[in-house]
């Protein structure tokens, strides 16, 4: 049933090198922008049907499975566009979206996974993490917010946490949207050029940008340590927004097709209910 084999090219496996990825490329997909936009629109219908079946199970109380899309990226790589144009296409009733900012004092007082565990999607839902527990081994590592031994511990803690979530029925789709440093510069400059985009700009973005090589190293370590069988990473070239959106939609479709949700059967006597309703 899985027709989304072209996304296999995105999977982070043994020997993966982030530095080998061309952020302009469209791996596995042979169409151009117009094709990609057409396929995105077509995929939305399939996504809607599968999502509704999954959600129906939650209403019927028979849901066991869920999907969790984890989005990580450098600033301006297009996380927001994925949320809007891919996730935004399905019924919001079945979506739970969590945007993780810098942790609050209360969150910092707990283990780094505390706030994340609370936001795992319930059965029947598509959850989205806009940033995630990976910040704790990305900015956490680059900025030295935790010491190296703690960072080491976190990789293992993440793998155990995700394996447990996967065993409970959550299909974890971890995506790094990968843009080039040049593309980021162009996108940030556009935000500065347009007053209606100033709100998206933060001087801190340039501070992080200046640490680009360190971030790429931290991402490489994340891929080396946390791309597991239960929760593999996908690196999606994202200089072309249309490609990134299409690829993430395909990954979600594949996760939903793996669940293969069926319409729940009636847990009542249909004919008896028809009579009761007719008489009411």
């Amino acid at each position: 049933m899985n027709t989304h084999q072209w996304t296999a090219a995105l999977r982070v496996g043994q020997g993966f090198r982030l530095s080998d990825v061309d952020a302009d490329a469209t791996p596995g997909y042979h169409g151009h922008k117009a094709d990609g936009e057409r396929d995105l629109a077509a995929g939305l219908e399939a996504l809607n049907e599968l999502q509704e079946r999954l959600f129906a199970q939650s209403r019927a109380g028979t849901a066991r499975d869920a999907v969790l899309l984890v989005l990580q990226a450098m600033d301006s790589a297009g996380k927001g566009g994925i949320v809007r144009h891919v996730v935004g296409g399905v019924d919001p009733q079945g979506v739970s979206l969590a945007a993780f900012k810098a942790p609050t004092a209360e969150e910092r007082a707990h283990d780094f996974l505390w706030r994340v565990a609370k936001r795992l999607p319930e059965p029947g839902f598509i959850g989205v993490f806009d940033r995630s527990h990976y910040e704790d081994v990305l900015i956490g590592r680059v900025r030295g917010l935790a010491d190296p031994a703690e960072i080491e511990r976190r990789y293992e803690a993440i793998n155990a946490f995700e394996a447990e979530a996967a065993a409970s029925g959550i299909r974890i789709v971890k995506v790094m949207l990968h843009i080039s440093a040049d593309e980021q510069k162009a996108r940030l400059m556009e935000r500065l050029d347009r007053p209606d985009k100033h709100w998206k700009y933060n001087p801190g973005d340039v501070d992080e940008r200046m640490l680009w090589p360190q971030y790429m190293q931290a991402y490489q370590a994340v891929f080396d340590r946390t791309s597991t069988e239960a929760a593999p990473w996908r690196v999606v070239p994202a200089n072309r927004k249309w490609y990134a959106r299409l690829a993430v939609q395909e990954l979600l479709l594949a996760a939903l097709e793996d669940i293969d949700p069926q319409w729940p059967g009636a847990d009542f006597d249909v004919e008896a209910e028809k009579k009761r309703l007719a008489a009411s």
Copy 2:
């Protein structure tokens, strides 16, 4: 700036009688279904722009205002369709959706407003309550889940709670989607006829349906007691789904235009940042 005057016909004012409302009607709107669908699509663009401006303020830390759409209705009146086709058209990042089911043991141990207060939208957000604290004076009254003195207390508590929320900057848009009993019967029958709709059917829906007159009385009491200046009720005839969606979109547009959100100004030196970015 407010061009949505046609929805004025929906406002619950002095002397309003629910029994006078024709659920088939399209008050204030002179077009037909095709016009309504075209206007809904056109309105979505306006809604998106206003929502993005509001959300931008939350990111910039300057937001004070929010919108809260409260949806109440008998089963099958179309709450889900409003969430999907009206709210679902805007960026999910700026929407907070709360679906209130029968209260849990923990929720029952608190005042009825406790769980609701926690889900009020933050500044910059559009909140949606799919059912709400009004259940506590609707099913609460019809089913005798609380004694009459407590129901009386709740109307006052609701008015005080909503006045406070409105004073804090939340535009409260309270909507009852009003279908006729015959239309409900047809919609529930369709759910029974289609196996892919069985999950939407609950035998309890017919139990509630049998109390239709009592529910209409309870809604009338809600309108009499809680349609305030700060948070007026709107009764939207909903036998025609296209009309109900268009009307709710218009009400949201009016609330957003009342806020009139502006793009936040830069809180940084734009030219200095351009130089810093160019050098990075």
